[in-house]
Symmetry: C2
Subunit: 449 residues, 2 copies
Amino acid sequence: MAASSSLRPNPHTSPLSTPRRQQQHSSLSRAIPCSLSFQSHNSGSVSLRYLRCRVESGRVPLRVSASSATQVMDQAPSRASSGVPTVVEVDLGDRSYPIYIGSGLLDQPDLLQRHIHGKKVLVVTNTTIGPLYLDKVIDALTVGNPNVSVESVILPDGEQYKNMDTLMKVFDKAIESRLDRRCTFVALGGGVIGDMCGYAAASFLRGVNFIQIPTTVMAQVDSSVGGKTGINHRLGKNLIGAFYQPQCVLIDTNTLNTLPERELASGFAEVIKYGLIRDADFFEWQEKNMHVLMARDPNALAYAIKRSCQNKAEVVSLDEKESGLRATLNLGHTFGHAIETGCGYGQWLHGEAVAAGTVMAVDMSYRLGWIDDSIVKRVQKILEQAKLPIAPPEIMTVDMFKSVMAVDKKVADGLLRLILLKGSLGSCVFTGDYDRKALDETLHAFCKS
Amino acid sequence: MAASSSLRPNPHTSPLSTPRRQQQHSSLSRAIPCSLSFQSHNSGSVSLRYLRCRVESGRVPLRVSASSATQVMDQAPSRASSGVPTVVEVDLGDRSYPIYIGSGLLDQPDLLQRHIHGKKVLVVTNTTIGPLYLDKVIDALTVGNPNVSVESVILPDGEQYKNMDTLMKVFDKAIESRLDRRCTFVALGGGVIGDMCGYAAASFLRGVNFIQIPTTVMAQVDSSVGGKTGINHRLGKNLIGAFYQPQCVLIDTNTLNTLPERELASGFAEVIKYGLIRDADFFEWQEKNMHVLMARDPNALAYAIKRSCQNKAEVVSLDEKESGLRATLNLGHTFGHAIETGCGYGQWLHGEAVAAGTVMAVDMSYRLGWIDDSIVKRVQKILEQAKLPIAPPEIMTVDMFKSVMAVDKKVADGLLRLILLKGSLGSCVFTGDYDRKALDETLHAFCKS
């Protein structure tokens, strides 16, 4: 896309706490160690591959404070007022799109307006985010653009509303507003809003354009990228939905200024995930910088978001419809979804459930003899630093886990496939070929009954 | 696909009442005159093209009675017991699929089983069709195939149930049955079942395989082919859905033996449509053979179904997502949908509403001076022969038409585009560039207020 082609690595950048290995590969295109062993559900390893990751280093327009700069790795200078976004491309042929990352991007109307084609826009947001950013987004869509009219629908906030009843409110509004096939839906909010708005856009008139403006770390590093959309069913998470790609993702890191502490931490669960499944260097960086991230250092946040999006974009480009590789992004999610469904949607945040689920997946990997205990300890430690749970809530029983996991999307012909760590840090497998005893032992180790 | 490659035109066939022009082009690949003038919503004609239509003449396994054979055009001998289906291919790259057409195809388990990949199948049907054909379909899916288990969900019958509440029953059953991503949904019924089952398949776990087994003329000649799926909203028809292609369409013409008279006629509205928009020879054949079709002559029915599917397959192959050409398949549908929505879903059958809508579209085309009155008369005559309505119900007012037509999917940036006939028989345009006065006059001519 045009915006990314102008970005160049800056030779004057000197990352301060970059691990040595990272520095050795500071070119535009470099190898990220991500040995991913795939196993079919009834056989051994199929392939082991090292993927090359194209990293576009843009100028991250965030101010670096003196105290944090010494601890934050980045390849770009601070340019809080430059307004030039970092761009990560999601390469999907004619469905490719850019992720714009930077502070103050909602003050740059052109970024959004270049992706609006018709005359009508529907902004889908919630009761928390609407009062904070809806006016700003409407301004960004309409300033200097009088032909565009914007409607909005404000949904209740929370995972417990990610269902068909709430989705129908989006359709009602779209139809009452006489939106046509050339309209654009804009998701303004966290993962719940992004997932619902995306599925509504996929389904309204059999598909209209949509744009993601994620306002939580969780949505910025994970759910807004890659086109997974959907709603929950009372029996399981995300069981109804579509693969449907946006026109662009616009991440204004300023929106994190209003994010509650618990939501911030929840997003870090996914950041940590990328390190564990495919990017050991990133995990090591997180170990050094988690306290800086928790303190909301803008440069550290921007870097973590960019690198997470690069990992996500690469995986999605290689396996859009989750036939294999993409499933590895669900480390800890099968256990986590069981926690979310079992506790009642909205009780635990998604990232909190994923954090506990990750500990369980790591525990199981260790019981299988696939990783050594140093990884187990490092995972626990970094999650604790992020103030994330490292065990499921006491209400969860072995039977609750099993009954929800039975309807997981990764079940194939009755066999539950899991993402488990295997080998050195940054390596994982997606497999149904594991000893059931280890799964049972893990469930019993984390549940009282 | 394998099945179609074995089909060859039979040199011994001698169509008896084939129009001369048709006989002149009785090769595998021939030109069908279908001048389609496309107009953008704010300019004149953009292109005029003659499309070549690949016609695969298979052996239609239907018995021809001596009395009907003299009136039915077909290029294949009758082979009621041969079991070799006619195959029409829908060419969509890696989403291509065959349409199998023939009598007794549900007695050929291989046709279905070759398209089943996982171990679980969900048959979606309704209270009318379930008692008639569900056991037969389950047998076809499972005979000699013990690894496959079949679940079924039986929905209430009628357009008034094509909504989100009914759709949720399909998801409930699928999840309770622990179906996974490798499962297959089978739509057994008419257009309502096909549309709902297809949308459920598109959305369940973000997409699973599905198969269409249409049991009405309407579904066999139109709705089961081309991947349009969806449900109605109280404010408009098919406003929520997906483009989602099946693995195959299996048309067992024997299922028409149990079809009520009114449903039979309803399907002919779409058959007539193909003739009017792109296939004048087919329309002329229909004029000669409508009484044979109404008498359910199996050979005539098989021919009408095959030729309709060929027209549909060609249009869908050229424009899957309805960016232009495909919209022409909606002749009469914008008026028709207004009738269906205005009267309450289920009061008028879809084809009945389309028939009245076609008369209105033809009337408007005539008022615009785009066709001569002989076409107006021929359309009225053939619809009357098919016992279809040629005017909307008296309840419909001009305002009712306008309010429903305003949310039609063919509205672009506030402008309603319509399919109208223009030029000689078999020619149409899809355009927003028409005199509004003609639309008003047509609406007032057909409504009392």
